[in-house]
Symmetry: C2
Subunit: 283 residues, 2 copies
């Protein structure tokens, strides 16, 4: 049984429950992106919204024909091997279909590979939780309902979108689908408040169904807002009263500048940030 590296906060990597940092070149996760991933905020050794992230992981595995028997139990055991720092950290989890099969045909039985990477939380300078600058991306997401919603490894559209800009002052880019409907940010979901309604793009054709987005749909309803997942154009977003992006690591980042338009870090957003923070520490 392998032992963890020294306790100061480096990256700890487990592969199928053993400390190791390299995978076989025949892995289908490399060859085809045949796998899924999850990125957790970890607070004092506890992955936040673990149940919800696990659920999305299992949904993704099933959609891609990756067997899930024993997976939750094995992941629980993997988690116990890691040496968690006090405070905040990031846990990235990848589950691939493993190697084998004839070309694209999935092996049967398949031997999925579990990869866990625990690392320090990245620096987010400048209080982005009080407002960021964002931009519109040219890259459009293709409409592929078979792959929408899940967090699979085929992320070239996000790579292309993110590489449209280098300016570190721009903290996120928004992407539309090939029909011109707004979908999400390159690494986040988008939500906005318009006329007291909480709105977020429907994700049936593209995009990732975020854990925090789902939490906010509930929290907004609990706060008495009308809640809507729909089809929105950039103009719908432009005429919003408040807008923000969200994911499990950043929580909520209000957008106070989008292209040459300015927005308030508004009351509805602040209330949702407060409610979300409460939920997160309860995990």
């Amino acid at each position: 049984m392998s032992s963890p590296p020294c306790v100061s906060m480096q990256v700890q990597t487990l592969i199928n429950g053993e400390f190791s940092d390299c995978i076989g070149v025949a892995d289908r996760g490399l060859a085809y992106g045949h796998g899924v991933f999850e990125t957790f905020l970890v607070l004092n050794g506890t992955p936040v919204f673990y149940t919800e992230h696990l659920q999305r992981l299992l949904t993704g595995c099933k959609r891609l024909g990756i067997p899930v028997d024993q997976l939750p139990q094995r992941l629980e055991h993997d988690l116990m091997q890691l040496d968690y720092p006090a405070g905040r950290a990031v846990l990235k989890l990848i589950v691939t279909c493993g190697s084998g099969g004839r070309g694209y045909l999935t092996p049967n039985p398949a031997s999925p590979v579990r990869i866990l990477m625990l690392s320090p939380l990245p620096e987010y300078p400048g209080q982005p939780e009080q407002g960021i600058r964002a931009r519109w991306c040219q890259t459009r997401l293709a409409c592929q309902p078979l792959l929408s919603g899940i967090k699979h490894l085929n992320r070239l559209e996000q790579v292309l979108a993110r590489n449209e800009w280098q300016d570190p002052a721009i903290r996120e880019g928004l992407v539309c689908d090939s029909r011109g409907f707004v979908v999400e940010g390159t690494m986040s979901n988008l939500c906005f408040i318009a006329g007291g309604r909480f709105c977020t793009p429907a994700l049936d054709q593209s995009g990732v169904e975020g854990i925090v987005r789902n939490q906010l749909l509930q929290l907004a309803a609990l706060q008495g807002l009308e809640v809507e997942a729909g089809r929105y154009t950039p103009d719908d977003v432009h005429s919003a009263d408040e807008l923000f992006v969200c994911n499990s690591l950043i929580g909520i980042w209000p957008i106070v500048q989008l292209g040459d338009r300015s927005y308030e870090w508004g009351t509805y957003t602040r209330r949702l940030q407060s409610a979300l923070n409460q939920r997160m520490v309860q995990c």
Copy 2:
């Protein structure tokens, strides 16, 4: 300097010019599919259509922001490390963007990773070069012009399409795009002869621009056929006189049964097979 494993034909794997069979878990090829690949037929130690495959690889790298300086020279050197069997073999080449960068943002500078895998040619029982049975897939390819034509690592659509059937008697499946136009096979390009015209789907929205498909566009023209890359429906394909799929490993496999329709292993196809075989041994 590492040495090759024993000479009997197993898989030989080189990573950045050294014998090794595992890559770092932080590689962007795994994380996002940020890379490209090529699959070569190797005849007596020579990769067939090497120049054309290399060209497509470089085009794909540039499209994905993977630096290519020194890449052709390094690949030439890698090729010299391998121990080639007599006769036929398969060489798979993957180039990833390596690791690093902040999330989806590509590192600058990037350190691409070259992976070469030399293995025995798979068994193709039953003389498929004389005719195969194929089927229509339900899975539709999304229209994404930014990624069309190149052989990137985001291949989940092919995984989904191929896993629609298990019957080994069915040797290939044909896929349409989300508009309903025919694109290609799950692991091949599709060509057909209709009224003496050589037709193959245009690949500006989806699909991979095959090396052999490109050879055949030239060879068909040299044989005096009208040549057309266009938009075809399944009905256009159904009313063809002859049809076949092609790639670098299989060459040409005529389709003699598609769903419940039968087709001839026809004269135009046989002439193209003959011309292609001649070109391949000249490499």
